[in-house]
Amino acid sequence: MSAVEATTPIVHKTALNPVHRQMGAKMVEFNGWDMPVEYPSSGGIIAEHNAVRNGVGIFDVSHMGDIRLHGPEALFAVQHITMNDASKLSIGQAQYSAMLYPQGTFVDDVIVHRLAETDYLLVINAGTREKDFHWVRDNTHEFDCYVENLSDDFTQIAIQGPKGVNLLQKLTDTDLSAIKFYWLTRGTVCGLPNTLIARTGYTGEDGFEIYVPGDEPTSAMAWTRVLEAGKEFGVVACGLGARNTLRLESKLALYEHEISDRINVWEAGLDRFCKMEKLNFMGRGALEEAKAEGLKRTLVGLEMVERGIARDRYRVLDDSGREIGYVTSGSYAPFLKKNIALAYVPPEFSKVGGTVKVEIRGQGVKAQVVPTPFYKRPKKF
């Protein structure tokens, strides 16, 4: 193997790539994918973000991966490799979960969908697609079930925001009001029969994710029809920039930021998605030990008190200037109009109302520990 081959990264493209370019999107490389970061025609990140909070925005999230497990022992396989309790899922229900290493740290976070009696779909992150698929396959050999990588089969479009339901209802006969948050069904969407419709998302808003065939013409048709149908609701196309600020305001974890192979479930504060009462699952033993040992660091929300924006990897200091932790994600929050961040700090610094400093270009800038999520959508149902 030549050195060039080993170091030249392959940049993947979704089926909607030509559509994004045609729309004039600013494209960036994200985890090996050429993706839109923002659409100047939508008004940019702040406008896209607020469209999702107040109305509706759509995202191409086809870079996400999809792994299907089906067969007589599919449930046991899913239970073995994920930390939430998949036995609680009804057919047509989904749950947030994660796959863990034996050390109790994260392979990835996932949404587990129960498609049929013994048929599960794991939706995983773009940057970890190959790793996750191998992980799932290698750790489910002992179970009587098939593991299929469907990552390239779908174009996944997220329709997010309080008006998302109104938009999508125009494109399907399926009664969307019957689908609760984190439930899914199949129906005809944009004339495409048997389309998976899930009431899920990564924005902290109500919304849907639809899975349409991954070929370019069908993908472009669906994207265009969604935008057309959304005109009366002020829909805009949204890029990864708004996706990131939306998930940050809602404190949704991002791999390699809040969760990684060096961070465990307790540190990340994802206890409620981890069912220790399950007989066994990968990572459980280490998590029991970690719990007994006690937390060394914990994820907190910060709001900047003095002028400055905390950014990923910036150091967190105590009042005396001693390094105590680091920022995992930080940004201007477009809806809240504040500078916010998530950071790992020792538990003694995690008390809401306490202050720390974030080192910004050599200066300690004051920040306050605040309750999270920073933003919570008004509950309607």
Partner: protein, 129 residues
């Protein structure tokens, strides 16, 4: 957006409008377009010495931090404090939303900067990549 012909430009996308002794400094329309929504500007205090080609402050969009480079050397005589609370003015009109006024140390430095047509050509090439 036209690039004013009485400004000089850097390849780092700052502009300076000079009258021989003093200069007004900002970032170009191309810079604000590339950055996207600008949400934070950090500028030096009045009296600070800035040096041509060296960073004098920073500008942050929602997604990124960028250094600001001095188009010429000099002493800061005035700072546009409005940008602290309304950084979006740079997005609205980058060539009007000035950042600093400086007393030029060496007005001859300006000869090394790009004219409006040269800068326009430069960004057309950069955008083409």
């Amino acid at each position: 957006m036209a690039y004013p012909s009485d400004f000089k430009y850097t390849k780092e996308h700052e502009w300076i409008k000079a009258d021989g002794k003093t200069g007004t400094v900002g970032i170009t329309n191309y810079a604000q377009e590339s950055l996207g929504d600008i949400v934070f500007v950090e500028l030096p205090k009045v009296g600070t010495e800035i040096t041509a080609g060296k960073a004098f402050g920073s500008v942050e969009s929602v997604k990124a931090v960028s250094d600001l480079y001095a188009p010429a050397s000099g002493t800061v005589t005035e700072v546009n404090t409005e940008l602290a609370t309304a950084p979006e003015r740079i997005n609205k009109d980058a060539h009007a939303a000035w950042m600093l006024k400086i007393r030029l140390k060496n007005p001859a430095e300006l000869n090394g900067l790009l004219s409006a047509p040269d800068y326009e050509k430069f960004v057309a090439e950069e955008a083409g990549h």
